[in-house]
């Protein structure tokens, strides 16, 4: 029933992505345009992401809480840049309980305003700081062009919100969380990242500074999937987040917010998958190994028993493993697990029982390795590590080969249009950047993290600047 072919990346990258998502049963379209159903297999990836990140957040002292979905209009209007940034894309509740509401309610597009209303009640003294809160929640942004995981009207994310005594404390936390995302991306998602400060044109509505985690997709376009904002006192002032310092003087807090969303699953798919379907790095794979019975005839019991035994041994090693004993042809089974990106498939049939060895099939290169029964757990762990590492290296090679330097503006436009990133100096003037984007569709992803002293010549204006930036097309 799910046997339509997957479009090749070279033919139509966008259609290939939709095919991979659909064939791996990661998501479905919701009934309201632009919404998404996250199917069990896709949601299992999100659960792994939640577990890893939640632990990392808590290790830095963050605790979870939950704030309301509904924001009264008056609250969202309190911070001028913020409301301007978000008002075009909010969903508004006007009726409830059978009546027209006196005040319109906004469905949260992000929760700074509703959370800082609470923070103003919770923060009294320097002793209450730093306040380190996170929530896992759904948010709604009314988008016109949507794509599963990448851009949906409703999405799942976590949003962290902190208050500090000093601007340095806030900046430190902003960078700390940026690095948590970078570590997660590289060491779990096997995605090499580019991190750096956003330009004025691209920063979060209401932030002092925004830092982002960007990655290069296989088509050479950039995908931003995590951000960390130093909000300064832009929200603490209108929201009255104040504390008494050690000298008993009233001060406004310094704040941060930071988030990663189900968009990251889109990146995971677009960085690693191939023309056969989904590819998942083992650390993010809900199932790392499928044990598949093949050519089951008269010795069914022995094959099934051995399958169960291997299953048990792998479970003991904390490997996420499943068995597939269904009465289907080997081809049907192989096809399914390939499309679902299970890192290793172990085949076991009559011949394997006879020779006391199984075949390990590696999803990323299709290689087959014979492994004797007693070596299975050891070899499984080795191969999973190797796949994790190879996926990262492949992605890094792809990315490094596609970050270009150029001589002039025309060359830059040419390279980006060919599916490359360009790393060059840029003045980062807001109006110039906006004009570039309008004329060419090119965006500045972020400013490279440097010592901030080395100067270069702006590729667009010829003026001297310290900002070295990544130009790219983006999702």
């Amino acid at each position: 029933m799910n046997d339509k072919k997957i479009t090749k990346r070279k033919e139509d990258f966008s259609q290939w992505y939709l095919d991979v998502v659909s064939k791996a049963e990661l998501s479905d379209y919701g009934a309201v345009k632009g919404t998404m159903v996250i199917r069990p297999y896709g949601y299992a990836i999100w659960e792994i992401e939640q577990q890893i990140l939640d632990k990392k957040f808590k290790e830095t002292g963050v605790v979870n809480a939950y704030f309301p979905l509904f924001i009264p209009e008056r609250l969202i209007n309190k911070e001028k840049n913020h409301v301007e940034g978000f008002s075009p894309e909010v969903a508004v509740v006007t009726h409830a309980g059978g009546k027209k509401l006196d005040e319109k309610i906004v469905v949260r597009p992000t929760s700074e305003t509703i959370i800082y209303e609470s923070f103003s009640k919770w923060v009294h003294s320097y002793r209450d700081l730093p306040l380190l809160i996170n929530q896992w929640a759904n948010v709604v942004r009314w988008e016109l062009k949507t794509k599963p995981f990448i851009r949906t009207t409703e999405f799942l994310w976590q949003e962290g919100h902190t208050v500090h005594e000093t601007i340095e404390g806030a900046e430190e936390r902003t960078l700390q969380m940026l690095n948590v995302y970078k570590d997660f991306s590289e060491n779990y998602m096997a995605i090499p990242t580019i991190i750096g400060k956003k330009t004025e044109a691209e920063k979060f509505a209401g932030a002092l500074n925004t830092y982002s985690v960007e990655a290069m997709m296989q088509d050479g376009k950039a995908l931003q999937y995590a951000t960390s904002h130093n909000l300064g006192q832009n929200f603490s002032k209108p929201f009255d987040v104040k504390y008494l310092d050690k000298e008993n003087k009233e001060q406004y807090g310094w704040q941060t917010s930071w988030g990663i969303s189900t968009r990251s699953i889109g990146a995971l798919i677009m960085v690693h998958s191939d023309d056969k379907g989904l590819v998942l790095p083992p650390k993010m794979a809900p199932t790392q190994i499928t044990i598949t019975t093949i050519s089951v005839k008269e010795n069914k019991k022995e094959i099934f028993d051995t399958t169960d035994l291997i299953y048990k041994k792998l479970i003991e090693e904390n490997i996420r493993v499943q068995t597939d004993k269904r009465d289907l042809t080997p081809g049907e089974k192989f096809f399914e697990w390939e499309r679902k990106g299970i890192p290793i498939r172990i085949d076991i049939g009559a011949e394997e029982i006879k020779n006391k060895e199984v075949v390990f099939v590696n999803r990323i290169d299709g290689s087959k390795t014979k492994v004797s029964f007693d070596q299975i757990p050891t070899k499984a762990k080795e191969m999973l590590d190797q796949i994790q590492n190879n996926l990262y290296q492949n992605a890094l090679k792809n990315q490094e080969g596609k970050i270009k330097e150029v001589k002039n503006w025309n060359e830059l436009v040419d390279e980006v249009s060919k599916g490359n990133f360009v790393l060059e100096y840029f003045c980062c003037k807001k109006d110039i950047e906006k004009q570039i984007n309008e004329d060419t569709g090119i965006t500045v992803r972020c400013i490279k993290q440097t010592d901030g002293k080395t100067k270069g010549i702006c590729i667009k204006t010829g003026k001297e600047t310290t900002n070295e930036v990544y130009f790219a097309k983006s999702y």
Copy 2:
């Protein structure tokens, strides 16, 4: 700052509840009327509940997924009883992205309709069944009278949704999940439960049968905090959830749905807490033990080092423990942990160091036990078990003492108004039950699970019936 006294239960039970919630910093009011902020301490309880239940669900084969918050009006209108039940309390989005929407969108009050729209696409063959799906999500029901955790406009819950080949399969799953909730209530929340079928008047809008988990609060009122519904084919028909059976004949699926919400935290609070504040059973306590330093003067280092050592030993035993080394008076510290319901407080100061023994303070009876250093982990585990067990026994005693049998209707009204449950035979006629509720405020909580054969005389009508039911006032 948080030093207002807690109202006594006898004076005003409702105000007592609000005081306990506020003093323990479990929740705050949201900016939109009826919404709730779940503060970190309250949310930590919810996280424990999620972990326990999620594991139990998965052990029965259930997998998680996520479905959209937004339901188009046409979908919610598909099942007649369902829309009638929910339409008075839904919140409606009419505008989004700066435009008036062509079709109104309902913010999910529950997700049967939006989920079964997906199920109709996922279910094709008997091989796809049973389909066992759960989601953890927020839902919105516009309530006029609200109370933290007990009844809020938005709340968090899980909702399980399954499809089966037969009505027996659906009924079995309905009861299986009811028993998961019962087990969780009794063995983790230490709350004795009353479970049974709901009457026609009280069942879920759209269900064939509803079963509920009810518990008695300390004021003798009932609180329902989990339900399990056998939906029959009431939804599969309008939503076209069909499958081909083994004979290749098209059949409608048999469905269930079941859920538990943050309301359960309200029950947890109302069953165990006392006039000093929150009381938590150890299995649900985010912090099971606080080690509190007292009389820290010249031997500060020794006291702090010993505190750290004890902390480490308890962590190794998987006990959730925290230290309180703050420079506050012992009284201030004791007061805070008492209000927050930490099951055991361990005090350590100069004298304790000298005698190589600490004092264990038991939150539920205030008893103090001297424990030598080397006995700390063993005694800690023992006392936690003992507190868990005692809380259950206390609640059971309270409940059993307040379930009355009566001779006639007037006596029943009298007993219930005194804060008791009454267990009597009742005809369960819908109109009679509705009239009782209008006249007296009394509700039928559920029908006792019996062999269904024993007959008795309806306490209201004098007619013979097999339904033995629990009458009570309820939240």
